[in-house]
Each structure stands twice: as C-alpha cells, then as structure tokens.
Symmetry: C2
Subunit: 387 residues, 2 copies
C-alpha cells in the first residue's frame, strides 16, 4: 500500500425527499445562484418546479445556464462564467448528471480567472480558487457529485480534457434515487458501466498489498452487477436505484484509489472516441473494456484478473483460465445490458482509429496496470472496432 | 435503504513518515496545543520526541495531559479542560489510540461549557461547539480518529457513557501504520476484534435493501480476518498493519451505517462490564459476540447470519445450518487470536451479572437486529460467563 491523503468534504443528503434540505444548504454560501442544467428533463419530471419553489421560499435569486450537453462544451462554460460575473453569483448549483456537474465545476473555477477557462484543461493555468459548487444528482454514473474532477469538450480543437482540484469538490450533493426512475434503459446501462469502469481503473493496479481497497472495489462491482439489470427491467425499483446511486458516488470519491497507483487507460482511450463522435461515455467504455482486459492479460496481470474472476464472478479454477473466464463474463454482462459491442456499430470510422491512438498517447504512455504505447492503443481500438 | 446524511470531514494523512505533515495541519488552527497521551509508550518508541521537534520547528506552544488511561476517566477530562483554559489552547492533539482521542474530544467539548463536562454524557447538556481536535493514531481499533464519538468512564458513578457530535470529528488524523508495530499481540488481537465488532453492530440490521453497505462491511470483516493473525505473528508487517489501520477507520466513520438501522447491543453490554472491571474493550467484545450471535439466531435473523457465513466465511449449505457454522467460525477465529473466551476467565464475578444487565437496560431495550430486554441480556451474560 502506498502513502495517501484523503478527504471527503461533500455533505451527502441521500434519499427520498431530500430536496427539502436544498434551501438550507445553499444559504450557507449565499443567496445568488447559477442554476446549471441540461436539456429540460428536469422540467418534465417536476424537479425544476420544486427547485423554483425552494428558491422562492428562501428568497434565493438565480440565473440559469441551461442546455448543457451530454459531453459538456467549453462554450457553455464561457457562458456560465459570464452569467456569474454579471449577476454576482455566490454558488453554482448543478441539477443533473455528471455533465451538468462538470460544467458547473468548470464555471466555478473560471469565474475568478481572467483568461480562458480552457487554460485549466490544457495545463496553461492552475485552479487556485473557485465558487462553491452544489449538486442535485439525477443520474447514477460519473461520481462527479462527490469528487474534484470535471471533463469538458472543446469542439474547435476536438479535445476532451479533464481538470481536478480540491476546491471543485461539491460542498453538498442531494442524492434522491427517485430522480433516476425516469432514466431510460440505455442510459441506465451506460451509467452502470461507467461506475464499473471507474472501479476497474482503480482495481487493476500494480500496487501490492491493497487488500482492503480491493475488497471494497469488489463490493461496488457486485452492487452494479446485481442491480444494473434490475434497474433496467424495473425503472421504479427504489432499492436498485438507491444502491446504484450510492455505488456511483463511492466508486470515484477517492476511497478506492487511496494507497494505490491507478490505471485510467480505458478512460483515456474512450475520451478520444467521444471527443470525435459525441457518444455516451459509458457506452464507449462498455465497448472498450473487455478488449482492454483481453489485451493486458499476461503472466504479470493474470493473478489480479483471476482474483477479479474469483471474487466478483465466483469462478474457480486455474489462474489464466479463470482470468479469461472473468473477462468473458464481463463482456457478456455488458451485452446483457443491451449495449453495443463494437465501435463500428456506433458509427466510428475505421480510418480515424490511428488519429485517436495518436491523440491518446500524445502526452506519453497510458496506464499503470500495464503500460500502453501508441501501437497497443491502436491494437485495442482495432479489436474494439470489430467487436 | 433508509434516507441518510453523511459527511467525512477528517483530512486523513496515511502512511510512513506522515508525521512530517503534523506541523502544517496544526498551524491551520493555531499554535497553542494541548497534547493528550497515555502512559508513555510514545516516549519509548520515539514518537514523543519527533512531535517535540515538530513543535520546536513550527514554534508551536504546548501543554501536556498525560497518563490518560485505557478506559479514559472524566477526571482526566476535568484536568484537560483546566489546562486548556489556563493556557489559551487552540487545538487538542491526541497521540495514541481511542482512549487518548476520546479524552481529547471530551476535553475539546468541555472547554466552552461552564458546567461539568460529564453533563454531556448524562444528557444534561448538549455539545454545541468544541475546540478543534487532531489525532496521531498509534492503535488500530476504535475508529475514533475519523468519527464524532467519545466514550468516557466515571469511577464515582461506575458508569461508562458515550457522546457524539459533528463538532468533535477530528479535523485531521495522521495514520502511520509503523506506530502500531510495537502494539503487543493481545492488544493487536483486541483491536482486531473491536474493528470487527463495529462492523457487526452495523451489518446485523433489520433494514432491507442495503446491498452496497453490506458488501462494504464484508470487505472490512475479510480484511480483519486476513490480517489480524498476520499482525500478531509478524508485528512489523507493514501491509498487515496498514490494512488493519485503515479498516479501523472505515469501520466506524459513518460509511457502514449510512442508510440502515444499527444494533449496538453487544457494545452496550460490554460497556457495563468494562465500567465495573476496567478490562480491554475488544477483549470483552470477543467474549460476548459469539454468545450474542447464538442468542439472537432465530427464523427472522437466520437469513442475514447465513449471508454472513456465506460471504465472509465461504460456507455453503442450508440456511440455519450455515448461520450456525458462521457463528462457530467467528468464535474459533477469536479463540485463534488467543483471547479469553469466558467472562469468568477474566475475573468477572457471577454475582454481578444481574447488576450489569440492569444497568445495560436501564434506558430501554437494547439492539435493533433483535431487541433485547433485561432477561435476554442476563441470559447472554450468563452464557458468556461460562464461555
């Protein structure tokens, strides 16, 4: 186990009706809010009107940044920064999934910076302070509601890049599983895979002696495997939605990575796909993950892949054999969620794979569980293209 | 799953040499410290001198409250409060295990209260504010380094009572597993059982639909079962000490109880034993736990006890049978740690069991997994007396 520092400062308000606590949470930081949301699903399900009522009851003034897209754009961030400055906003409140929350974080960081907030993503500038961020979560997937990270796309440069800073961690997040009842099956499936992928990126690590972290990771994987199919079949199943929602937050709040090196190669590759094609992140991960697993399986990685097969899928037998069986179980599980299984099936063009591999490795090798060079990434992309 | 609020504000600094970060952590709150510690083990292992050097290097002034006992007394708390007031202390720093940290919390709460801090324990007064508390942990057991609770004994009234308040959660905790290398085998065993008991109190719950919490709980139990014996056999095994230390913090920081009703009957009974006999808390728990499990096993509780047997001990078979087998595995495991297995063996007198049962149930029935009345508690104590 490596040395680590962890801190989980987000106040979690979890469960049915927890929106009632929103007013009090906001007023701890001020009464001028930027409300960040997507394309109107919160108007259809009544959440928007509930929030308006809370704003009225608590004399909270607000401006809106709406229409934030699934892979949020830097143009939305620019717009949000402008609104915050014009209206003296004191807290950025995201209502939605990871896209709204990530956009809110980037806006919060940008307000106090004179240059273009994209500078944070390219490494040209550092985030030192930010407006406080709060979240009302409506999708179990990214974990952004309890962590320091944000990923934003730039159409002009065809880049999708991330930032991270402790000042971006939401001060509070309201997690009501009922808000995810209306998430359609494909989105529920993609969210489940996104959570599992976050766990994989931290579980598959070269660091020895991380027993407790690994058992915790397996706990979250089992939760996804148990409840993903239930939430798809019964969208209003509170127990399934609640377990998935809490799994999403715990998968990426720092708990699983504490004390270990983490991988993130699959995410890095997927970001290059969704930077070009605007596909759902979790869908891209579902296609890539089994191919990544097959590609990295070797004598050195087999023990951990076998441990995964044994502890998560209850497969017993000889090490390499069960490592392979665990990988195939993973692929079958993703397929059972009715997600596409090849890049070709979702419209990715074969002649752009090299470009993606180049961009993915432009800042060096990927991964830690197994290091990947340009040719490795291209091989994985080719395998995933065929499915 | 029930609604819940959670918040983990403690900054964790985990690993070898993390004491280096102590100066910076303290100076965020001030430069006048009350140093709370026990009976000198930190002087023997060099930690005390390291801390003195950090105080000198950072111009931190300090006063000492030393000699805090294993079941810390309210008299130490009185003494600490007096020192804080006399010297204008700004932060209470505990160096030690749960006893030092619990004492530090009670002192921190008492400083701003005009009456006797024991009032907080009897419910006569409420904790509204406290001096900030920090911790340097030297024993993996109580979890006090990351939670809001403190347990203090009162010799005059022969009571051992607890308090809890968000303002008591340590602002930072330094967790260096190497500080536990010198913990002797019996203490290591008792600490391991203490951690497991904290998990049991939250795992054995009547709340349905808490899959993720239960898998996380099992992860921590497996960690204790795997590493407890290793840490006893090889006191300098960093991996074992590190996994146990982090297990202790995660077992009782709010993660496992989020969304469920919890039991705590075994702890409530044990507190009555150690209030009278000053035994090691973990030892009392090791004796009581298997008897509690046997006593509460019935048609309603069998499914969860069987789940425990299946997931933690890998026992398969018919429900009631494996529930029983899991209980016996637990008893055997505690025995394998060379802990006493009966109250009679540790000097408890049979003619005082009724008094303990009376006091344990003086504020109502105990437990939630199964509710226990006076006669139930007495039956468990009698069974544990014989072993």
């Amino acid at each position: 186990m490596l040395n680590f520092n962890v801190h989980f400062p987000t106040r979690i308000r979890f469960g049915r009706g927890k929106i009632e606590e929103l007013g009090g949470e906001i007023l701890a930081y001020g009464n001028k809010v930027l409300l960040v949301y997507g394309r109107g699903s919160i108007k259809r399900n009544g959440l928007y009107e509930q929030i308006m009522q809370i704003f009225r009851d608590n004399s909270i003034a607000y401006v809106e940044l709406s229409g934030v897209q699934a892979n949020p754009r830097i143009s939305s961030v620019h717009q949000g920064v402008k609104l915050c400055r014009e209206h003296g906003v004191q807290l950025v409140l995201a209502v939605g999934g990871g896209s709204a929350i990530d956009c809110a974080k980037a806006v919060a960081a940008g307000v106090g910076y004179e240059g273009d907030p994209w500078d944070f993503f390219t490494g040209k500038a550092r985030i030192n302070h930010a407006l406080p961020v709060g979240a009302v979560l409506t999708l179990a997937a990214t974990g952004s509601e309890m962590n320091s990270n944000a990923v934003i796309s730039n159409d002009e440069t065809a880049q999708k890049l991330g930032i991270g800073s402790p000042v971006l961690i939401p001060r509070f997040s309201i997690l009501d599983p009922e808000y995810t009842f209306s998430v359609p099956p494909e989105q529920t499936a993609a969210g489940t895979v996104d959570i599992m992928s976050h766990v994989f990126e931290q579980y598959f690590s070269p660091t020895p002696g991380t027993f407790i972290q690994d058992r915790l990771a397996e706990a979250i994987l089992k939760t996804c495997i148990h409840y993903g199919p239930i939430a798809i079949a019964e969208p209003d199943n509170y127990e399934a939605r609640a377990n998935l929602m809490w799994a999403g937050s715990l998968a990426l709040n720092g708990l699983l990575k504490a004390g270990k090196r983490t991988d993130w190669a699959t995410h890095d590759i997927e970001h290059e796909i969704s930077a070009l094609y605007d596909i759902t992140h979790g869908l891209g991960l579902a296609i890539l993950t089994p191919h990544w697993m097959r590609y990295v399986l070797d004598a050195q990685t087999a023990p951990r892949l076998a441990e995964y097969a044994r502890n998560v899928w209850n497969i017993t037998g000889e090490e390499t054999m069960i490592a392979r069986a665990g990988i195939e179980k993973t692929a079958e599980f993703f397929e059972s969620l009715r997600l596409a299984t090849s890049l070709s099936a979702i419209g990715v063009e074969e002649n752009r794979l090299a470009e993606m591999a180049t961009k993915a490795t432009s800042r060096g090798t990927l991964g830690a569980f197994k290091k990947l060079e340009y040719q490795d990434v291209l091989n994985i992309l080719h395998a995933a293209y065929g499915g």
